[in-house]
Symmetry: C2
């Protein structure tokens, strides 16, 4: 039932992306994607925490944002800290003494799930841009199928933030009878044109980079300049002007400490911070995966599930018992009115909804930083 | 006293940048720049409207943002529409029946003033990156010297928006006795780290473009990809998410109408809008000029004129009689609290200040679009 990493064909050098605790499950059946493309089979990477109870009623399914892997927190297989370490674990807000948590690496990503960097079994070459057009719904559906393979038919709570929140919404729209509760954080029913503009420009930066080689860059290339710049723009949209004002102000980097020597881009601490984060990111994320996932975010629109183009109608089939919707006032990528709209749509379908518009200063990324606010909000809901 | 265009040495193909109505005045004396560099001489491009009265008391000095030229409105020499056409002219808010208006092309720009694309008279080659480090104060000082050359010692009102607002502030700080009134719009006493991050990334896009050739690109090259992307990021920071939501929503461009064929960047109308604006801009602005001016905005800090690092103290020498400070609530590049800070600093020095935080939806660029709000606000002040 479980395929080991060694059974999954991977491009040379590519396995290094996958965290050591990530398991992979092969679903050896053809999968037709929302936009019409076909995967002859697919693999989903995932990690788990806690124990599945006898009646399988304690499953939490966690979807990630665009860039994280499935290693949300330390576990038995991998003791290194995960991207949501303070949130997830024994006695924490997502309490692994109580819940069996499964974090899914999104289809299209490069951390153990099938994506543009995986080998197409029909050609024995990496998919690259021949990978079929990817949608958020495909991420939700392949996670659902992987869970079936793992013997899990029903989920207590689906959780997702950012792109993961869209995936969680898609999951609840596609499989309304397979989950009881939903937690969506800093996400939206669809992307606004400002967010599309930012992501489109990030994709253009990658595609205009000659080293991208029209998608056929060597997988062992350490860093693409386009990816570095895309990450910098990402940082500018993930954080808030207010946080940076408090944190960096107009502080300068000492000339001898500058990582980048360009006289036009290396003087202020904020520039050094962006440079540091860009360097940390690139070389650790497949550029084509980034393009596919980024575009999937732009395409997602929960209104497609409505007959009258309202969010209220889109969720009319929902069987959710409870939902928690969290937004952050300083988020410019998924502004707080978008989370309010989700909460209102669920409420108008009679669902018990808790909504929080948090006053965190860290913008879209607050769920990864402001644990003082996020942990109790999520913890109280799950208790 | 007036140098004609033909007297000013210009790089081949470069004169095409200069609007046909722009006059140029040569100041044939060495100018030491704030950061220590030296110009052996310099030229300032400018346009005028209206007539200078006998006691020379009706002069309005207009500074521009980063990218506009001195052709703010149609005039006798050039009947084409200017970048502030609805604001400036006979009977308009800046009434040229009453005022003699001089619009200055900033030092460092490429529309008739000395900048990186001009010829260094000592080498007979274009300055390019050998152009000395440029500051906002240099733009203000060279404008002041050009005005002296034109026989104008005192200015009734200095007006500037965006970077032009910084130049207007610098002018009033450097030459406090040479102006009576100040109008600053959507500007700041210094740049916040979010704005620095955006501009730094724009500069990086240009510098990482191989076609920039380390600043030695041919002047007749039609377009630099880095400049195109920098302009797109500029548009995302100049406008507001709210405006784009109302204007574009999630509308798609018909496949056959797409200007760009990249499947990752060409589907939504917002992407097409950015592409259109980027193409309109590039090839019409010198890339090195852009880099110098953009960095000058990051460097400017009115607090340098204070002994105790307060804006109030910075303006303590001010002899302004009146000031009008305008901000826009949806501006993310120069947020409205920055204009409030300017207004408060001037007020606390006993200056009669009118402050308006306008509810325009167009963000930083509102002064170029929302004339319904801006024209009466400026007009009432000048009457």
């Amino acid at each position: 039932m479980f395929a080991s990493i060694s059974q999954i064909p991977l491009p040379e050098n590519h396995h290094e992306f996958i965290p050591k605790g990530t398991q992979q499950i092969l679903v050896p059946e053809p999968f037709t994607m929302k936009k019409g493309g076909l995967l002859p089979e697919f693999t989903i990477g995932y990690e788990t925490w806690g124990k599945l109870n006898k009646d399988k009623s304690n499953v939490i399914l966690l979807f990630t944002g665009l860039s994280p892997n499935a290693h949300a927190a330390s576990n038995e297989k991998d003791s290194s800290k995960g991207w949501w370490e303070p949130m997830l674990g024994s006695g924490k807000s997502i309490d692994t003494d109580k819940y069996y948590v499964i974090c899914i690496n999104s289809l299209g990503s490069c951390f153990g799930s099938t994506g543009p960097a995986s080998v197409n079994p029909e050609t024995n070459k990496a998919w690259r841009l021949d990978f079929p057009e990817l949608s958020i719904e495909d991420i939700a559906s392949t996670a659902y199928l992987a869970l079936q393979k793992l013997g899990i038919q029903h989920v207590n709570t689906v959780i997702g933030a950012s792109m993961g929140g869209m995936t969680a919404l898609a999951y609840s729209l596609l499989f309304p009878s397979s989950l009881d509760r939903l937690i969506v954080i800093s996400t939206a029913a669809n992307s606004l044109p400002f967010s599309i503009a930012i992501r489109s420009l990030q994709r253009e930066m990658i595609c205009k980079d000659l080293d991208w080689m029209d998608g056929y860059y060597p997988f062992d290339r350490e860093t693409l300049c386009g990816m570095r710049m895309a990450r910098k723009l990402g940082m500018a949209s993930y954080r808030s002007a207010k946080e940076w004002e408090q944190r960096f102000g107009r502080k300068r980097v000492a000339a001898e400490k500058r990582q980048e020597r360009n006289p036009f881009t290396s003087e202020f601490e904020i520039e050094s911070y962006l440079e540091y984060n860009a360097n940390k990111f690139t070389g650790h994320f497949d550029a084509n995966s980034y393009l596919y996932l980024s575009r999937a975010i732009d395409w997602f629109d929960a209104h497609e599930y409505s007959k009258n183009n309202t969010l209220e109608d889109a969720f009319s089939e929902s069987q959710l018992k409870q939902a928690l919707v969290i937004g952050v006032e300083t988020d410019i990528l998924f502004p707080v009115h978008q989370q309010e709209a989700i909460a209102n749509a669920l409420k108008s379908n009679g669902i018990d909804v808790k909504y929080h518009g948090l006053p965190c200063v860290q913008g879209h990324d607050a769920f990864l930083v402001d644990y003082g606010r996020f942990c109790p909000t999520v913890g109280e809901f799950l208790q």
